[in-house]
């Protein structure tokens, strides 16, 4: 077998989704809006959407996540949601004093055809309070997944606020759905290259912040609105995605409308793609790769040698957002691990081709787009997986299979420190190497009757 097997479920199939490997698009938008300083999100639809998404995100980040709802009633569904929309905005402004309100729609308001852009023009904020800026993204939950909602919101933020101006020294970064630790790493890295970063979306503080002596209406942190405005005059944009469509890419928009050159890159996971990132940043800055990061690389490379025997030919099941799965596959195949199944609930249509470019270790991998956990589990059994790498929703599968689960990405609902997990760069690769390697070592140690104390 030398072609990638493709097991995509046709979109038209009237089959149920059993234990979804995706979330709805409004969740992605809510996450992206958390990365603007002083912003609060309003979901235009039923109360439940906001509450469910809050609960889901709080369980992962363990931080307050306030999301307002226009709280549709039957009459809003019949006569349109304007009344609730304007009342909700009034109350959000009164309570939270936001500088920005991110508005995302739900299936309900999308289907009844509320003209949210018209609503936003029509709306008059309370006169006694400063009027916030507004940005909105269309996120009907029957279209795409949370990954699409996230990308859509990032694009909407950039389209709404970015303006051309006197060219600056700063560099835009659209890193996609990374962890707060990843975002901090990326900012540190760019500063080390003397490239002032403007990151959209940067929720590294708002969703991984400190304790408060006074309750904060909106958690501190996030990218300042003025900085977002300046994105149109940046030196360049760096955008991470292996599957993004130009029509959904914020970087492509900035290039087209503001003439900001775009460096579209894979999510920098693994040695090779991190090397590519370092090369790109070195070119942009005209500076050599900082010594500190070269040392990270040296330690990582040295530990690859230490780890390789534990990794070689281990059969891995990977799942999650498509970009994450591609990044994991790139990383693990550098370790010698064989990704035998790469699955996502998303359906960009680009997962298989991106994986194919990774080389011979992916040759036999089964690729599933539009997959759910019932299908992933069935395939994982057939493919005799040794290890599972993905979010915590694979736990029950891993438990039934008796295989270790290395938790990455979002959500992680059953462990501490999800926000502190690092996935990108040499350090993220190092963390992944140690965690995957140790999981394999532990599985071997636990399975042995001897009780080895040296492994």
């Amino acid at each position: 077998m030398n072609a990638i097997q493709n097991a995509n479920r046709p979109e038209s199939a009237d089959a149920p989704t059993s234990n979804a490997c995706k979330l709805c698009s409004p969740l992605g938008a809510c996450l992206a809006f958390k990365g603007i300083e002083g912003a609060i999100t309003l979901l235009h639809g039923s109360q439940g959407c906001a509450t469910y998404i809050r609960r889901y995100m709080i369980s992962h980040f363990k931080e307050p996540v306030d999301i307002a709802s226009s709280n549709f009633t039957e009459s809003s569904a019949v006569f349109g949601g304007w009344d609730n929309f304007s009342l909700a905005l009034d109350n959000v402004i009164r309570q939270y004093r936001p500088t920005v309100i991110g508005i995302a729609t739900t299936c309900l308001s999308e289907t009844i055809g509320d003209d949210v852009d018209g609503f936003m023009r029509q709306y008059k904020p309370p006169q006694d309070l400063p009027a916030p800026e507004m940005v909105r993204v269309s996120t009907a939950s029957y279209r795409g997944t949370h990954a699409d909602g996230f990308a859509g919101a990032v694009r909407a933020i950039v389209e709404t606020f970015a303006r051309t101006g006197t060219p600056g020294q700063h560099v835009n970064l659209m890193p996609g759905m990374l962890s707060p630790a990843d975002l901090r790493y990326m900012k540190e890295l760019m500063v080390d290259f003397s490239l002032p970063p403007v990151v959209v979306s940067d929720y590294s503080d708002t969703l991984d912040g400190g304790a408060w002596s006074e309750y904060q209406l909106i958690p501190p942190g996030g990218t300042r609105l003025d900085d977002i405005r300046s994105m149109g005059s940046a030196r360049a944009s760096v955008e991470f995605s292996s599957t993004a469509d130009a029509s959904a890419s914020a970087g492509a928009w900035l290039q087209e409308h503001c003439g900001v050159p775009l460096r579209a890159m894979h999510v920098p996971m693994g040695v090779r793609w991190t090397d590519d990132l370092m090369t790109a940043l070195a070119e942009l800055s005209g500076l050599p790769v900082p010594d500190k990061h070269l040392q990270d690389r040296q330690r990582l490379v040295d530990s690859l040698a230490d780890a390789h025997k534990h990794m070689m030919e281990a059969r891995a099941v990977l799942y999650g957002e498509e970009d994450l799965v591609i990044g994991l596959a790139a990383t693990l195949s550098e370790f010698g691990v064989m990704p035998v199944l790469c699955a996502s609930g998303g359906r960009s249509g680009r997962l298989a081709s991106a994986l194919r470019e990774l080389g011979p270790q992916l040759a036999e991998a089964m690729v599933m787009e539009g997959a759910d956990f019932a299908e992933i589990e069935q395939a994982a059994v057939a493919l005799q997986a040794d290890i599972i790498v993905g979010n915590s929703k694979g736990y029950s599968m891993a438990r039934r299979l008796g295989r270790p689960l290395v938790r990455v990405g979002f959500p992680i609902h059953d462990r501490l420190g999800a926000a502190r997990l690092l996935h990108v760069g040499y350090r993220g690769t190092q963390q992944l190497l140690d965690r995957v390697g140790n999981a394999l070592i532990q599985a071997k140690q636990d399975a042995s009757p001897v009780g080895y104390t040296y492994m």
């Binding site: 009237d14 089959a15 149920p16 989704t17 059993s18 234990n19 979804a20 979330l23 969740l27 309003l42 639809g45 039923s46 109360q47 439940g48 959407c49 906001a50 509450t51 469910y52 809050r54 609960r55 709080i58 363990k62 931080e63 307050p64 306030d66 999301i67 307002a68 709802s69 226009s70 709280n71 549709f72 009633t73 039957e74 569904a77 609730n84 009342l87 909700a88 905005l89 109350n91 009164r94 309570q95 739900t106 299936c107 309900l108 289907t111 009844i112 009907a140 939950s141 029957y142 279209r143 997944t145 304790a211 408060w212 002596s213 006074e214 309750y215 209406l217 609930g345 019932a374 929703k393």
Partner: protein, 451 residues
């Protein structure tokens, strides 16, 4: 500085205010950031623990994804309820209708998992595109020969309470469709306990010990066939009255089964739940057995509780829970531990509930209906709260402010019901409040530089 929204002020009593009681039983205020979910959520949480039924969410993926394995409602047998099934409607389904997909999903899942019944939850979108869910359910029921029950839980058609009602209506269609084995003992149904961390089992054992047969547990560790036979019970014991009173009322009207409100949280309420049942049946021996059980269990836990009380005396608690009835028990349980309740509130309490709560708490206690994170944060600060009791969404409010928190909601892993549950509760309160981390959380970092 946090202000309470003008339109919310009728739902917040600052102690002596609102002599006629606070406003309640209304839709959440748009933009207020209610802690409530929606109609669908109400139905889903109530029916979720029925372990041998198929639960199919008809709608886009979110509603099913966010309720996958959402409650720690454990089952002694089948685990089908812990799966998340969705028709995962796509744009074309919204345009052309989702009936065909619903039919095909139901057939597929029933063939695969052989459930005893299927619940089909309508979500917002289904209420708009006009799928005839009833007709599809009838058709599949006839073809597969199991009950297939539509749950009218479109998210926007009311509040979480309407979702409870929709769940009760779906359940009621099962009641009386099968007959139990004959039994000599007095028979009851346990309504409104969801077997979080195995709590229903504890309660069931208590009743068994005093000589009562439990026909059906609705819905904790629930089984379709038990619910079908539940009309043969002589008494319905209703906890979590907000969610289950409607079912009990309908069973009273149709089958003449009386109902009794009970709570299994705290020593007082747990004892009362046993005595009330014995008194209802007018059975002296049963009452004696109940007394023996209560005195044995209480003497087993009293020593431990006294130790905790000594450590907790004088602490101040805020309670914000889904149903008000739970709040009553919590106020009493906290009092047993020497902890004063300075704020109490619920998502779905009614007028009566808040009057009772007002009578139960000290006169200066703050009462809130359908509150929001900022109000909670304000009161946690202003009232000098040492402990917040609530669910996942309330937790970060407490932790950010360096205040202890106890989960009295879906995610608890230790049973808090029954006598043994009271010790678990006391232990959790103690371990939360007495943890050394709060001193560090509230401490200032080193300033550095010159003094």
């Amino acid at each position: 500085m946090i202000d309470i929204l003008e339109q919310r002020k009728s739902q917040v009593s600052l102690g002596q205010t609102h002599a006629d009681g606070i406003a309640c039983d209304k839709a959440s205020l748009a933009g207020s950031v209610s802690q409530r979910a929606c109609v669908f959520c109400g139905s889903r949480v109530v029916l979720y623990p029925i372990a041998d039924a198929l639960h199919l969410v008809h709608g886009p993926i979110g509603c099913a994804a966010y309720t996958w394995d959402i409650r720690g409602a454990v089952s002694s047998g089948p685990q089908l309820h812990r799966m998340s099934f969705s028709t995962d409607l796509q744009e074309k389904d919204v345009i052309f209708g989702g009936e065909k997909k619903l039919y095909s999903c139901l057939i597929n899942l029933i063939d695969r998992y052989k459930p005893k019944a299927a619940f089909v939850y309508s979500t917002c979108i289904v209420g708009l595109i006009g799928d005839d869910v009833e007709a599809i359910c009838r058709r599949v029921a006839a073809e597969k020969n199991i009950p297939v029950l539509p749950v009218h839980s479109e998210g926007f058609k009311g509040t979480k309470k309407d979702g409870y009602a929709a769940a009760c209506d779906a359940l009621f269609k099962l009641v009386g469709t099968a007959e139990p084995e004959p039994c000599e003992l007095p028979r009851v149904n346990i309504l409104g306990d969801f077997n979080l961390a195995g709590e229903t089992w504890i309660i069931r054992d208590y009743y068994k010990e005093v000589g009562i047969d439990v026909v059906a547990t609705i819905t904790g560790d629930g089984r379709v066939d038990d619910i079908r036979r539940s009309h043969r019970a002589q008494l319905n014991l209703v906890q979590c009255s907000g969610s289950m009173t409607r079912l009990a009322q309908r069973m009273k009207e149709s089958f003449g089964i009386p109902l009794l409100r009970v709570s299994y949280f705290g020593l007082e309420d747990m004892s009362k739940a046993l005595y009330d049942v014995a008194e209802h049946f007018g059975d002296k021996q049963m009452l004696n057995r109940a007394r023996q059980l209560v005195s044995r269990e209480i003497s087993a836990v009293l020593g431990q509780l006294e130790g905790y009380r000594a450590a907790l005396e004088g602490k101040r608690a805020a309670i914000y829970v889904g149903g008000a009835f739970k709040a009553f028990s919590l106020v009493r349980s906290l009092r047993t531990l020497g902890v004063k309740t300075v704020l109490a509130g619920s998502q779905t309490g009614n007028r009566n509930d808040y009057q009772q709560l007002r009578a139960l708490c000290d006169s200066d206690a703050v009462l809130v209906d359908d509150t929001n994170p900022l109000e909670l944060a304000k009161f946690v600060r202003d009232l000098g709260v040492d402990l917040l009791i609530g669910g996942v969404k309330e937790r970060p409010i407490a932790y950010k402010l360096g205040v202890a928190f106890c989960d009295h909601n879906h995610e608890r892993k230790e049973p808090l019901a029954g006598f043994v549950g009271m010790v678990n509760f006391a232990r959790e309160v103690y371990r939360s409040v007495a943890s050394p981390v709060w001193r560090i959380v509230r401490s200032a970092p080193p300033a550095g530089g010159r003094p």
